[in-house]
Symmetry: C2
Subunit: 364 residues, 2 copies
Amino acid sequence: MSGTLGANAGPAQTPTGAATKAPARSPEPGVEAKPATIYDVARVAGVSHQTVSRFLKGYAGIRPETRERVAQALDAVDYRPNLTARSLTTGRSHRIGALTHEIDQVGPSKIAQGASAAAREAGYLLDIITLDMSNRSAIANAVSLVQQHDLAGVLALASTDEMTRAFEKTRFRVPAFIAVEADDVVGEHRSELSSVGFPALVDHLAGLGHRSFLHIAGPTTWSAARNRVRAYEEAIEVRGLNSVGIVHGDWSARSGYDAVKSLSGEVRATAVVAANDQMALGAMLALSQLGLQVPRDVSVTGVDDIPEAEFFAPPLTTLRVDFLAQGRAAVAELLARVNGETAPSFPVLASELVVRASTGPAPV
Amino acid sequence: MSGTLGANAGPAQTPTGAATKAPARSPEPGVEAKPATIYDVARVAGVSHQTVSRFLKGYAGIRPETRERVAQALDAVDYRPNLTARSLTTGRSHRIGALTHEIDQVGPSKIAQGASAAAREAGYLLDIITLDMSNRSAIANAVSLVQQHDLAGVLALASTDEMTRAFEKTRFRVPAFIAVEADDVVGEHRSELSSVGFPALVDHLAGLGHRSFLHIAGPTTWSAARNRVRAYEEAIEVRGLNSVGIVHGDWSARSGYDAVKSLSGEVRATAVVAANDQMALGAMLALSQLGLQVPRDVSVTGVDDIPEAEFFAPPLTTLRVDFLAQGRAAVAELLARVNGETAPSFPVLASELVVRASTGPAPV
DNA sequence: ACGCTACATGTTGTCGGTAACATTCTCGGA
DNA sequence: TCCGAGAATGTTACCGACAACATGTAGCGT
């Protein structure tokens, strides 16, 4: 060892004599056989590996000259820390898990996107774990997976009670767990529907003369669905309006369609408030098949404002939810908790009313 | 250390002093302070840690009696391998990265879901890395991230040329890289549009009397978009039909809308073939705003068959693509490659024509 | 000039596994 | 009864980082 002391730029001799498998990939510049370690850096800089480690951690007590040498060596060998090794000693990984039901749903997937970005900015990676949130063994399996990969924390992007419970029980080597969109379950309030959301929506409809409403809700096991039902009921009640019913769907367009069809042709409401845009879409199709025009006969609203909502026929009036921000906020809180900082309380994200053509004056 | 020799069930002292917020959760049984290692197992079983390791690897040469003791100890302490430690020595992790542009797009997110499931079944975790595929520094950043977290392989769920190139260059500690949906770029054919896809679609339209077509394509930098353009052109040409143009969008509904609007009211085609369902949706809205009825005046088709397509107004005729299967296949190939097995050639997935109300007889 | 104390840096141990090498055990054959 | 070979098992080294402790060096007062 200790060959060239200079910038290790000699004929690319493999560091630890390794490079077992790669077909000796000719000494192309820039393609090292194996990434450099702090020991390599130390050798090049002529210091001990610990000094390198100190430098990397930003330790102040290093002589300027030494500091400079290390910095140059670091650069010369293009050092990248091995996070695996670091995790082993520190016991803390740089990955956070994201549990989600089906990421093809706009909400969860957008949240995941925001979370992923926020995580990366903090030097973390987001591990996606999709699972059937109502399958007990699938959940157990996921828990086990999370433990083995020792994640720094876990985020539930879309949470059902079953899943939340499973993780409540096993707080074991999983330092933190946050359920996005869950409030009543976890005990902390993190509904994305600010108090101005549904009220604003209902105000809008009431202003158009609507008095009787129908709510197409999500599955009762989803806390997000319950939040929205509660918000809906409150908004209706406070204004002395009339709810002719709440039908539960499963977030899909089909379920919204079925919900309306299940009314057996008798739609007694003049306004249909769906808990998400997909169900609103399905509802609109069903209504038109019943011979009811939107918004002439019935007004329809959604929640989420998925990118397509603006192009539905007719374009959908909906509550815009900033999923990206939600994902970011969740990660921020998780990391704060992991680092033992005072967790910045999860911000209650405001949802903005977006009025489009699917709502209009109530029929006389 | 080395306190209790029994099942390590001493009073649950918090692991790393963490658990800042939880109120010190009393020494509940079943909540171990720290997961057991092979050394713990060895101690309990009265053998060396290496014997335990051998057992775990399925080494045959272990006396039945010893084997039994180890098995029991394993069970007693509820051993879970520490994948971090394993990775450090073996140099191979149990995670694969998934690069994606925006996972809120149905294609990529569904692929991710399939990939995630397949990965988990193989004991791997899927790390999502969202990035702006056209931002060079973001790509470099991602590459660096991938290296540090030493992933077993990388999957590009949606690939642009820029990104593919970035990874081509840096095959350094990233054993495998697969670009889903890319064929011309990577050199291997993996288009998800089987040869029966577009031809079947065009046959359907031609059968309805359509002769002049308009294609709304995806961004040219996306290989998936290019595949579809090529498939479209071939299908049109082979049948001696007429393409009045190809307009490029960005996959979004808005871009489909804009594409039609950009025709300045002059839609000379009787059939609009969009490269995905969202753009088809936007196109339909724009057409109706131009006073053209779908499908009476113009037929419109999409690709993907997103769950909502069935509920568009009118329901969309489209080519169903099995993204989940694509994700699974990609993972299978990646893992095979990682394990040095003969990579099962990536199956060319068939896309099925789904006829709905957005297509009808060509106007006379 | 001497010794003490900060400060700068080096050495060794550790995390939890795997790999290579070392040692013990067992059994058949001389 | 003893030897040697192979099987079963144990010991030590190592992956790449961090942490604790050890050592060396400079600066200061006296």
